[in-house]
């Protein structure tokens, strides 16, 4: 295990179940200490990719390396580098929290002496001290989820893989889990899958969007916006002669286009959306031009960020189109 190799490297990974291709030529890499979000609709191949990385499922073809070790040929060494929390976080119902973590620690080759100290750390980190002697079957979902996370980070592996860690949690618990994952940044490479997008946006350094077993977009949330949506948008509320607006806007940026929003309200203000492929902020220039012109009265102007949700929808739609086109050509 060399320290310089990336935490995870996947090249041309393919997994087929009979005639269904779950993962199709997926390639990506994750640096050490990086937090990666894996986005995709249900059945996109997120869980399958994660399971292949943990060595639980064999890939049909392609290479997957974890810390420079091949998942296929050095499965045992790879398992030692990974903390894995499967989908739905399965836990034994009839064990106590500390017993379970102790057992898992022993399975992960932690020596007894070190384990008890480590157990205290992990319970502290995941805020589980209060319930350490409770039976897992009686815990609420939020606690169970944190037991799963505690289990994954227990042996301090360089790679943590979590399949939908926040599914079924309330907003408060989601925030706790997010903070917990944030604390791992820099120390461990983390891959989390989700289809809850704001969560990925807040936690992850980078996101991979996967659909139909293919990676359709990858990058930081800002890069994804640029790449997938490609336009900046401004919303304004304005009173005055809307017909004279395009000429004025062309002076600021010729590429600006106006799409009408809601028509004049009771006090005569129109709601308009402007969009442009330019990336630098035009807010000040717009504000200056509109304020200088006596024909218009401006009530509000704001630059809107497309949410990751829109990026996600656009990216997956784009991939559907490619798939459909490919099918049409055949």
């Amino acid at each position: 295990m060399s320290e310089t190799s990336p935490a995870i490297e996947v090249r041309n990974l393919v997994k087929t179940y009979g005639r269904i291709t779950a993962v199709n030529q997926v390639s990506f890499s994750v640096a050490r200490g990086e937090i990666i979000g894996f986005l995709g609709p249900n059945g996109a191949g997120k869980s399958t990719t994660m399971r292949i990385l943990t060595g639980y499922l064999p890939a049909t073809s392609g290479t997957a390396l974890v810390c420079g070790l091949s998942v296929a040929s050095q499965a045992d060494a790879v398992k030692r580098c990974i903390g894995y929390m499967p989908e739905n976080n399965p836990l034994p119902e009839d064990m106590r929290v500390s017993e379970y973590l102790f057992y898992r620690g022993r399975l992960k080759n932690l020596a007894r002496g070190r384990l008890s100290a480590r157990l205290d750390d992990v319970l502290e980190l995941c805020d589980l001290k209060r319930v350490r002697h409770r039976i897992i079957g009686t815990l609420s979902k939020g606690f169970r989820q944190r037991v799963g996370i505690a289990e994954a980070v227990l042996a301090e592996p360089p790679v943590i893989i979590m399949d939908e860690p926040t599914i079924g949690l309330d907003p408060h618990q989601i925030q706790l889990v997010r903070e917990l994952i944030g604390q791992l940044r820099g120390r461990m490479a983390v891959i989390i899958s989700s289809h809850i997008l704001p969560e990925i946006e807040l936690t992850c350094d980078r996101a991979l969007i996967i659909n139909q077993g293919r990676i359709v977009a990858a990058g930081t949330p800002a890069q994804l916006r640029r790449e997938v949506i490609g336009r900046s948008r401004y919303e304004l509320e304005l009173a005055g002669d809307a017909a004279a607006l395009p000429a004025l806007l062309a002076a600021v940026d010729p590429a600006l286009t106006v799409s009408p929003g809601a028509g004049p309200d009771a006090s005569g203000f129109h709601h308009l959306i402007l969009s442009t492929p330019r990336e630098d902020d035009l807010g000040e220039a717009l504000l200056g031009a509109l304020a200088a012109d006596g024909r218009f009265r401006l009530r509000s102007l704001s630059r809107t960020q497309p949410s990751l949700e829109e990026v996600f929808l656009a990216a997956t739609r784009r991939s559907w189109d490619t798939v459909d086109n490919a099918a049409g050509r055949k």
Partner: protein, 254 residues
């Protein structure tokens, strides 16, 4: 095999805290106690040729048939149903370690239950004060038979449990497999006419060699035939190897 003992002690602990273990134990001891009482009554009415221990172990198939499926049905199918098999196998352990540890835990419990029925003979000896009731030869032979054959029956149960995520299905499969092994050869020899043909001599010999009740007779008479032990030991190995394959094949296709 580094994690064998970790998983084994975990499994034993889980067996000892689970209610189903105690229900199985109570049912088993009640049934065996009842059979024992009937046996003693038989002996008090008229003198018998065979020692009571030999007759007692003749009935071994009845508890085995019901108890082994009950003891083993949970071991792998429960893990598969809950999904904890995934967490277990993504820890640095091998499938063989998991299967072997689960098998050992169930087998130790099986032995412990049978050994506790040795108490019946102690009580009898204490109160009857008659040496013929506590003939240590057949008793010891019977327990050795239980220990050796139990290896295979429990392994069959573990294999059945590895086949399905449903405990009831696992129990039924092991019930059928054990029934086939215990009664199959005897039924085949007595009921299938074409086995009497001259050309089927070899098959007849093989089936005869597999008759569990003959093995039991030999053991209680004090004959420890290594060939008979070999049947059980190879059967155990085969069933466990198949269990490992079954767990891994499920991984490939899940």
């Amino acid at each position: 095999m580094k994690h064998y003992f970790t998983i084994l002690s975990h499994e034993l602990r889980m067996l000892l805290v689970s209610a189903s273990t105690y229900i199985t134990a109570v049912l088993f001891l009640a049934l065996m106690g009842y059979l024992f009482v009937i046996l003693i009554e038989m002996y008090t009415k008229s003198a018998q040729d065979t020692p009571p221990a030999a007759v007692y172990f003749q009935l071994f198939w009845l508890p085995v048939w019901f108890m082994v499926p009950l003891l083993t049905m949970r071991c792998l199918s429960e893990e598969r149903r809950l999904g904890t098999l995934e967490t277990l196998l993504t820890a640095p352990v091998t499938t063989a370690e998991v299967v072997l540890a689960k098998f050992s835990a169930a087998y130790l419990l099986y032995l412990a239950l049978w050994l506790s029925t040795g108490g019946f003979f102690l009580i009898l000896h204490r109160f009857a004060d008659d040496a013929q009731f506590l003939d240590s030869g057949p008793l010891l032979g019977g327990f050795v038979f239980i220990a050796v054959s139990g290896l295979m029956f429990v392994a069959i149960g573990v294999f059945a449990s590895s086949l399905s995520g449903n405990q009831a299905v696992a129990a039924i499969i092991s019930f059928v497999l054990i029934g086939l092994f215990v009664f199959g050869p005897w039924l085949a020899l007595n009921k299938i006419a074409f086995l009497n043909l001259e050309s089927m001599q070899g098959t007849r010999a093989a089936l005869d060699y597999l008759q569990v009740f003959h093995h039991l007779d030999d053991f209680t008479r004090g004959i420890l035939d290594t060939r008979e032990m070999l049947i059980y030991l190879s059967g155990t190995t085969l069933a466990l190897i198949f269990s490992v394959f079954s767990v891994e094949a499920k991984l490939l296709h899940s």
